[in-house]
């Protein structure tokens, strides 16, 4: 039943490796971008707050497929922005990462913002009373405590991101979902087996993420 795996025709591990890479770069990027967005949403500057709110509400409510196709068709094919890639494979990969960061950053931002709300207001007051600037209060006192309380919701975001990397198939990035589509066409007799292989692949990727980060969340929790 699983002999299609032995034919050597399909590089299943290689395809999943692309998902891992997409997840890795997008996770780092969206963590940074989400933190910047959260900083904007709590900033004392009205213009920044307005931008943060507008961005999050527009992008969060746009389907990811649309964003990624937008990156490919809009940024690359129309405007010629290739993000430094010189072949189709690299350009597609980078555009997909950009789309994933733009999208996932909004969820990171909102998780983080709820974390900021759990930090007692006295913490920021004490920091301000010492003469720390807004940026210092945010980066030294509030965000470090906020991050520790939102590891669980951020784990959800990371798991969703891992699975969302399959959307990169829509712009031809050779990851697992694209390979699956190809295999279904070629190995229609083993349809359920093909499904099982890919479903298992994602469980293997996401289950340890949840377990490891659950453990981390317990380790770094702030005692009050």
């Amino acid at each position: 039943m699983f002999d299609f795996l032995e034919s050597g025709q399909y590089d299943v591990l290689g395809a999943f490796w692309v998902n891992v890479q997409l997840t890795f770069y997008s996770a780092i990027g969206s963590l940074v971008w989400g933190t910047v967005l959260a900083g904007m949403r709590v900033s004392p500057v009205p213009l920044m707050r307005a931008f943060g709110t507008a961005y999050v509400n527009v992008v969060r409510n746009t389907p990811l497929t649309l964003l990624i196709i937008g990156c490919s068709a809009g940024l690359y094919q129309t405007l010629g922005i290739s993000l430094g890639g010189d072949n189709f494979k690299d350009i597609g990969f980078r555009l997909a990462v950009l789309g994933l960061i733009a999208y996932t950053g909004t969820f990171v931002c909102e998780a983080l913002r709820s974390g900021i709300n759990t930090v007692p207001v006295g913490q920021a007051e004490a920091a301000r009373a010492l003469g720390l600037s807004f940026f210092q209060v945010l980066t030294l006192i509030v965000l470090p405590q906020a991050f520790r309380t939102v590891i669980a919701p951020l784990t959800n975001v990371l798991i969703a991101l891992t699975k969302n990397t399959t959307v990169a198939a829509t712009i031809g990035v050779a990851e697992a979902a694209l390979l699956m589509k190809e295999m279904i066409e070629n190995e229609a007799q083993a349809l359920f087996a093909v499904f099982a292989v890919f479903a298992l692949g994602f469980v293997v990727l996401t289950l340890p993420t949840g377990l490891v980060l659950g453990w981390v969340a317990k380790r770094v929790a702030v005692k009050r």
Partner: protein, 261 residues
């Protein structure tokens, strides 16, 4: 100013020059509630002013306006001759010169006791880390929690946490220290250890504004008692005068309620 020497003007100027904190005509509203009404108060260098009054009288708010944790609607507040800026770097610089101790301690929960005391020195005063740690350890010894330096705030008792908070404020070499009900959240047996540190500080000539319900402390450490009620300063007097012979009915009423036993 030096020309007209015999007039009252120079006296005022001399008083103003010696006043470290001056609030003049300060007003603040919380919605419809007028929490601070035309407050005039000046605090001299080295003076210990204790602010007392019933809850809701605006005394905590008064204390918090001095480093602009609460904004004011009108009036001016000057610290060491310069008016309190409304925001930005200038305000941060001024806050660094004003130490604040809170009712709920507010030690940074994710940092050790030592890191709490080092942080402001390194990030605001730009002291190098080794010197800051040395100073922090000296201060922690001075307030009697030197052995707890590597613990986290949650591992300390309330009294210990509040003494760390005092050390954290002192590490900035503040010109004035504000205490916003520093013992109100403490178990009774821990109040004295904090008051002793404050007594010592007062004895060393630190300028202090203390909002408190500890009448014993007011009697023994204060140069002046300010009694507030309903957003106004009702009475200002030396502690002896205030406790033995209050002038206003409001103060008499307040004292009769708290000094029975």
């Amino acid at each position: 100013m030096s020309g007209d020497s015999v007039t009252k003007g120079t006296e005022d100027a001399a008083a103003a020059a010696d006043s470290l904190v001056v609030l003049s005509n300060v007003n603040k509203h919380f919605g419809a509630l007028h929490v601070l009404q035309d407050i005039d108060l000046s605090i001299a260098r080295g003076e210990v002013v204790v602010v007392i009054g019933p809850s809701g009288s605006g005394k905590s708010t008064l204390c918090r306006t001095i480093n602009r944790l609460e904004t004011i609607d009108s009036g001016t507040i000057t610290i060491d001759g310069s008016e309190l800026p409304s925001e930005g770097k200038e305000l941060a610089r001024l806050r660094a010169d004003v130490g604040m101790v809170f009712q709920s301690f507010n030690l940074f929960a994710h940092k050790t006791v030592l890191e709490n005391v080092v942080l402001g020195q390194v990030k605001v005063r730009k002291t190098d880390k080794a010197a800051a740690e040395k100073k922090a350890r000296t201060l922690l010894d001075r307030v009697g929690v030197g052995t707890q330096a590597d613990k986290y705030p949650a591992q300390l008792s309330g009294g210990q946490q509040q003494r760390v908070a005092i050390a954290r404020a002192l590490a900035m070499d503040p010109k004035v220290m504000l205490f916003d009900e520093p013992t109100s959240a403490l178990d009774p047996e821990m109040i004295n250890e904090v008051l002793e540190v404050m007594q010592q500080l007062a004895g060393e000539g630190m300028t202090m504004v203390v909002v408190t319900h500890e009448m014993g402390f007011a009697r023994s450490a204060a140069n002046r008692v300010v009694f507030m009620a309903d957003g106004k300063i009702v009475e200002e007097a030396t502690p002896e005068q205030f406790f033995s012979n209050p002038r206003s009915d409001r103060a008499k009423d307040f004292l009769s309620k708290i000094l029975h036993h």
